[in-house]
Amino acid sequence: MTTPYGAELSDVTVRYGRGRDAALDGASFTVRPGTITGLLGRNGAGKSTALALLASFRRPTSGTVRVDGADPFENAAVMAGVQLVRESGDVVGDSPVNDTIGYYSGVRPLWDADYAKALLDQFGIDPRKTPDALSRGKQSALGCIIGLASRAPLTIFDESYLGMDAPSRYAFYDALLEDYTQHPRTIIVSSHLIDEVERLFEDVIVLHRGRTVVSETADALRDRAVSLVGPTSAVSKLADGRHTLATRSLGGTTQLTLEGALDPEDVARARDAGVEVGRVSVQDLFIHLTQEPETLKEDAR
C-alpha cells in the first residue's frame, strides 16, 4: 500500500490573466498526510484554484506547490497518486460510463475495479448509460465513485457531491469513512455544506480572498468560541471582560457567542446560573471568520 501523501502550498499566487484579481494571493497551508482535511471558504476564496494546483491542473503564477515533497506538475509519479474530483466531473459525457471508468482504470495504478463496480451498484448507476443521460445526482455520485475507487494517496473532493440529495450524500460520507479506515489515504474535502461534514475533519483550512485565515485541527478551531444561552443578566455577567463575537436577544433570553473556551469550573458555574453552554458550530465560526465588513450577508450556505 502506498503511504498517504502530504501537501503544501508556500506563498502561492495564482493570477488568471494580466490585470485580473489574484485567485490566490500569497496563500500557504499544509495538509498533513493521512488526515481528512476540510478546505473551507466562500465563493471565490480560491479553494478550487488551490486544489487544482495540487492536482497539477495548472501551475502557480508564483510560490511553490509540494505534494509528497515534490513539485507535482507533470511529475508522473506524483500525479499518479493525486485524484481530484471536481463538481463538473471529468468524464466523457457522451460515452458510456464504462468508457470513462475504463480510462481511469488504465491510468490509475491503484484503481480498484471491484470496488468501483460495487459503488456503481450501490448508487444505482447503470454503467452502460452515458453520464449526460444520468440525473444530476447520479452524475455527482459518479464523480465521487471515481474518487473513492482511485485509492489515490491524495484524494480531493472539490464540492463534488453538491448535486446529490441528502440521503445520497450521507451514503457517500459513510462510504468515504469506511474506505478511509480500511485503506488510509489523505483526503481533502471542500464543501459549502459545513454542518454535514465538519465532524469528518481532523484538520481544517479556511481560505478567504486568496489567503489562508485558518489552518489548524478541527478541535482547535472549535475551541475558538463557545455559545451561551440563557437569562440575559446571567449571560451578560459571564461574558463580562471577554470578547463577544455575536449576540442575539429575544425577550429576557440572550444567545451569546464568546471568544475562547471556558474551563470546566466556569461551565459548571454557568449551568448553575441556568445558562446553557454549548459549542459553536464550525459553520458559524466560518461565517464569523469570513465576514465582509460592509455586508453581513451570509451566502456561505
Partner: protein
Amino acid sequence: MFDGPEPIYIQIADQIRAQILSGDLPEEAQVMSTTQYATTFRINPATAAKAFGLLVDEGLIEKRRGLGMFVAAGAHERLLKEHREAYLEQVFRPAVDQADLLGIPRSTLVAYLTDHLPATSLSAAEGEAR
C-alpha cells in the same frame, strides 16, 4: 449529539464513561472499535481513537489483541468510587460547610437525614452490604 463545549473526543469519552457507570456497558462487554464508532456516528476516526486512547489510559477499557476493545474488569467499581468521592468532596462537603455557616448542629443534620430523607431500597441494600 456532541453539542457540548468540550472537544468532541472528550464528549465521546464522557458518554462511554456514563454508559459504564450506568451499567449499559457492563464489564467484560465488547465496545465498538474506533472505526465502528467513527462510521456509526460519522465522525473522524482520529477523534474516536483519541477518545478511546483516553479511556485506555484511565484503565476503563482495554484492547485485547485480535478480539477488540472491552470494558476492563473493575471499571464500573472504579468509576462508581470516583463519582462517590467527587460527590462527597464537591457536593456534600460544601453543603455541610454551608450548614455550619448557618449554625445548624450536626445532630440536626443526622436527624434530618434519618427522619426526612428515607433511604431508597438500593442505597439501603448497599449500606447493609458494607
